[in-house]
Subunit: 379 residues, 2 copies
């Protein structure tokens, strides 16, 4: 905020030529309208869902750094075959960052806006990897006294996604859940919710280290997909919990189908009559991530009562309506330092966020490694 | 009906030893209760859905014939890896044949049963590959005067499945349909329904011969998945029809995913804002058959608003309720000789149904080849 008139904003641009360019743009600080507030952003997490917009389909092994320390630029190649999927965003410089938190430093004339002046608030809506963000007063979530922006930075994506999974379970008539990549930040939250609410949760992980993380949190059902006993372990946990709904962050490969297959075996253990169409119990997997970008492969040995589909937070919140969405948000605020606490391994400035070693770290999506961007760090 | 006390019934048995045995059992002719009627079965189709129960997971290339001409026996091996899926039916001699038609030759004392005496009726409920079938009077469907059992044999499975597809489209908010293996008997019915009701239908076929069959019926959108221009042809037809729901009889391979991908491309042609999650238009594929038993492979390039699932007629009819199911059945009866007319290439007796060359023909599931069993032919 050198001149008090402009602020930095992280931008991602994919050019028609097939090049990704990440940079920091200097943009005018917006003047809030009557119903708006201007927030100095002090904390915004790097979620897997942000990475999709940040780097798009670029091959980050080709990334090179240029520019200056204050104004870094990173470029990388987008493979030709992936350009078609980028069609909608070509030659458009896009701001990034789904959610964040900060302090209201200026407010419009309305009562609602004025009431927020000086308050620490959480926000969602994109363009959070920026020093300043202007929003409608009704769209920010005031945080309780004594909450820091870092504590409130991840109020929406992971907390509402994990609550949305439990809500989906109840609305679609299932009684327990399966979750993959279950030791993630999101997975840990889901465990805390399920333990608190008494919901059976089958956690699927890919290593003993990840299993240990969840067991320490008190998770009862943890199965390791790399173990030779995986299908038996999974099926036993499905029999014990009665879980017929899974949320899958992985997407590619055979795992989603294996979960359906385990659910079918579990259902048939209690079936009394043979049906050549398989059990009549509906088994559902929602894919909400793409940690594995290979094709999803379904070996259809799970009867005919099954479904797989995409699941996204915002369409879900639209579907349940404003009142129910507000109920979920209030639960997040109430349990922000317990159930919904996020842990970060590194806090970086906007400039540091574009260092090649950090970009490589986001791409690894390693369990337990999570970045927080503070756009006003050292600013 | 040599002795007037027993009738023949086709049976399928999979033994714990891993052997399939098909035979004709001599069973007592049932005595109808007060609310029941006894039907002499004169026509029952061999549908793909019957084949699953008839041969199960047996490898029919190992089939051998034994027994006598009057009492043929066919045996075949079930591959060891497939035995697990047969667990629910082992060592149980199972009757076969979903639907059929015949003449009521005996009726219980109730008024409803007596009213059916001498009538030609259509039936569903299994065990139709038999000379006699006893059912509740309310479960048979009296056919209009002048309808033969052969004309009424396929009143349920194909007609109600094709009507169920259109009904699902309306209930789930789609405006047009995609159908695969579209030149099948079922696919031809679906074309007749859609032409009559003014519904856009994209027919996917696997040869120019199949395309010709449908074009002769008046089908407007026919695309050949073996053509090099397939994806373009498909996408154009999806743009023109706005179809966002597909029914897939094939199941295995990449086709279901290609359909979703084409729908996504079509949706994005009219989209105004870039979303990294793809279009917000929900795209759905229901798999209702398994002509290709390989895994389903989904290259997930169709955003997040998508679903794939199994679809079966009976759960669908249960879901819509008795009144709506009756409405669909009445339409079938009303248009039995037009929209819902089935054509058979061969009429066989129970003994002939077990000839190895006929069993091989069912397994080929060739377009345009359809068998009708008359259990009382020459009997």
């Amino acid at each position: 905020m050198a001149d008090n008139k402009t602020g930095l904003e992280l931008r991602s641009l994919i050019k028609k030529s097939g090049e990704l360019e990440l940079s920091l743009a200097s943009v005018p600080i917006p003047e809030p309208g009557p119903d708006e507030v201007l927030v100095r952003v002090e904390a915004s997490p790097m979620n897997p869902s942000d990475l999709g917009l940040l780097v798009g389909a670029a091959d980050m092994s080709t990334a090179r750094a240029s520019g200056t320390g204050d104004a870094p630029v990173v470029t990388a190649k987008v493979p030709e075959g992936a350009m078609k999927a980028m069609g909608g965003r070509l030659d458009e410089s896009m701001p990034v960052g789904n959610e964040g938190a900060g302090v209201v430093i200026k407010a419009g004339s309305s009562e609602a806006a004025q009431a927020l002046l000086g308050k620490t608030v959480a926000m969602i809506g994109g363009a959070m990897y920026a020093q300043y963000r202007c929003l409608k007063a009704r769209d920010v979530l005031p945080l309780p006294e004594g909450t820091t922006p870092a504590e409130g930075a991840s109020c929406f994506v992971n907390p509402l996604t994990s609550l949305g999974m439990v809500e989906t379970m109840r609305r679609e008539g299932h009684k327990a859940l399966v979750h993959t990549a279950a030791a993630s930040n999101l997975g840990q939250m889901l465990n805390k919710i399920c333990l608190k609410d008494g919901i059976g949760l089958v956690n699927i992980v890919r290593s003993t280290e990840q299993a240990d993380i969840l067991r320490k949190l008190g998770a009862k059902y943890v199965v390791d997909s790399t173990a030779s006993s995986f299908m038996d372990d999974l099926t036993n946990a499905l029999v014990e919990t009665g879980a017929t709904l899974a949320f899958d962050a992985i997407g590619g490969g055979r795992l989603a189908g294996q979960v359906l297959s385990g659910m079918e075996t579990a259902a048939n253990k209690t079936a009394k009559v043979y049906s050549r169409y398989g059990s009549s119990v509906h088994k559902q997997v929602y894919i909400y991530g793409a940690l594995d970008t290979r094709p999803t492969e379904l070996v259809r040995n799970f009867g005919m009562a099954w479904g797989i589909g995409g699941w996204l937070l915002f369409p879900f919140l639209m579907k349940i309506g404003a009142a129910d969405a507000a109920r979920l948000r209030q639960r997040v605020v109430g349990e922000l330092k317990t159930t919904f606490a996020s842990h970060y391994t590194k806090v970086v400035s906007l400039q540091e966020a574009l260092q090649l070693d950090h970009l490589a770290a986001y791409g690894r999506r390693a369990t337990g490694e999570k970045y927080l961007i503070n756009p006003n760090k050292g600013g």
